[in-house]
Amino acid sequence: MRSQLSITLAVWHAIFLREALDRLFRERGAWFWLLIEPITHIGFLALMWGVIRKTDMGGMDVVVWLMVGMLAFFLFRRTAIQVMYAVDCNRPLFVYRQVKPFDTAVVRGGLEAFIMALVSAIIIVIVNLLGRDAIPSDPLLVMGAVLGLWLFGMGYGLIASVLMELVPELEHILKILMMPLYLISGSIWPLASIPSPYREYLMINPIAHGVEAVRLGYVSHYHAVPGLSLGYLYACSAASIFLGLLLYRRYVLRLVMQ
């Protein structure tokens, strides 16, 4: 008889390899599109800001500013979406009773962090080679903020996947929600330029805190948005993950029963 821990680790190993294959080689050049999506977003917006002769954003080079914000937001979005569909995409595999819905969710989130680390490294090297100074001045702050965003993505995904199972119509709303989140998280234009009191409303969104904190970690003299708080991001992450785990625990049977 295997111990429970060794079963779980074996299952995580198996799911990780299966998910990695699916994510990187599902279609022709699937890995290429993972890389090219953030590059086109950064490139297009850099072009837009360039057209209106904006080269500096709160003391940061606009290309680096865009790159950092975009990668931070993509980490959140991809983690959230991958975790959200973890149960759906692995349905045939729950026949093996060792595989639990939570295993698929946590492994998918981990895989996405791994892939985004590689994608980010490649993009940072490219931007550096293009002559922009894209080296973080405070790597610890960058890592702290990125971890917070990833945790919030996990929490969002966990909650969303259970809600989607309970009320299938919510899938449409959760999908639509990602678009405004992209716009209001400050990854494409500076939240610091928004007047009070509207800025305070936008800062309710914990992703905005994460995105700005990563920028502050990159350039220490960056004029970050007032009211920036990593603690708030971590509080939201902890709350969402806790709620997500609670929902999984409560509705785990519904997630796999036919």
């Binding site: 190993h13 390899l17 349905r91 026949v95 009773r97 049977l253």
Partner: protein
């Protein structure tokens, strides 16, 4: 040994909760016993089998497994975008066979006789090819108890002969819990029987007694 304690089960339908399929089933299935589940269509045989195998959960009660129990034979889940080999690797890893992976894969490839199709995605398989792979996967591991739901041997004649032989061999080696509508199959493989009717289960030490009680029940 498998202990089934006061298992209740009903399914959710589009109009709220459905009727109780199983109502308070308590049984102990001893080790190394071949058991046949008997009952009319819709009596809950497959439901009970799925709950024993851990693919489904009871609304109330529990199942304690003190041995290695298989998934329903020939009904293992396959991921359509992955190849046969990748699916086989997944199942081996989940069952803790990372170390002897090549041996298990060689067995699955050999038994399924898929040849080069073993490295093609499952979505390109015919239903016969799927069945071959699923049956080979079921036989690739040493379980203490196998569960089998109407395993009508799939594939062409030669493969059917091979699976029948393998099934017989497996039934001698390990315990078996099976659902089958053919009486001769049940008599051939099982010693004991469980009759399921009206959500209750009744244990018979002899499969013949169970079949007799089943026939008497129908005639009434």
């Amino acid at each position: 040994m498998i202990r089934i304690e006061d298992v209740h089960k009903r399914y959710k339908t589009d109009h709220g909760m459905g009727r109780w399929v199983l109502q308070g089933i308590s049984l102990t299935i001893p080790a190394n016993t071949n058991v046949g589940l008997i009952g009319i269509n819709g009596a809950g045989k497959s439901t009970l089998l799925r709950i024993i195998g851990g693919m489904d959960y009871p609304n109330k009660g529990r199942v304690v497994r003190q041995c290695r129990v298989s998934w329903p034979m020939g009904q293992g889940g396959l991921e359509a975008t992955l190849t046969g080999r990748q699916n086989a690797k997944f199942v081996c890893r989940v069952h803790g066979h990372q170390n002897d992976l090549p041996d298990r894969l060689a067995f699955v490839q050999d038994f399924s006789e898929l040849g080069r199709a073993f490295d093609e995605p499952i979505k390109t398989y015919s239903s016969g090819m799927r069945a071959r792979l699923q049956f080979a996967l079921s036989l690739a591991f040493d379980f203490d108890v196998y569960i089998s739901d109407e395993v009508t041997a799939a594939g062409d004649a030669s493969f059917r002969k091979k699976t029948a032989a393998a099934f017989k061999d497996m039934a001698h080696r390990a315990g078996l819990i099976m659902v089958a509508h053919d009486e001769n199959t049940l008599k051939q493989f099982c010693q004991a029987g469980i009759l399921i009717s009206d959500g209750k289960a009744q244990w018979f030490d002899q499969i013949d007694d169970a079949l007799k009680a089943y026939r008497d029940g129908i005639q009434k």
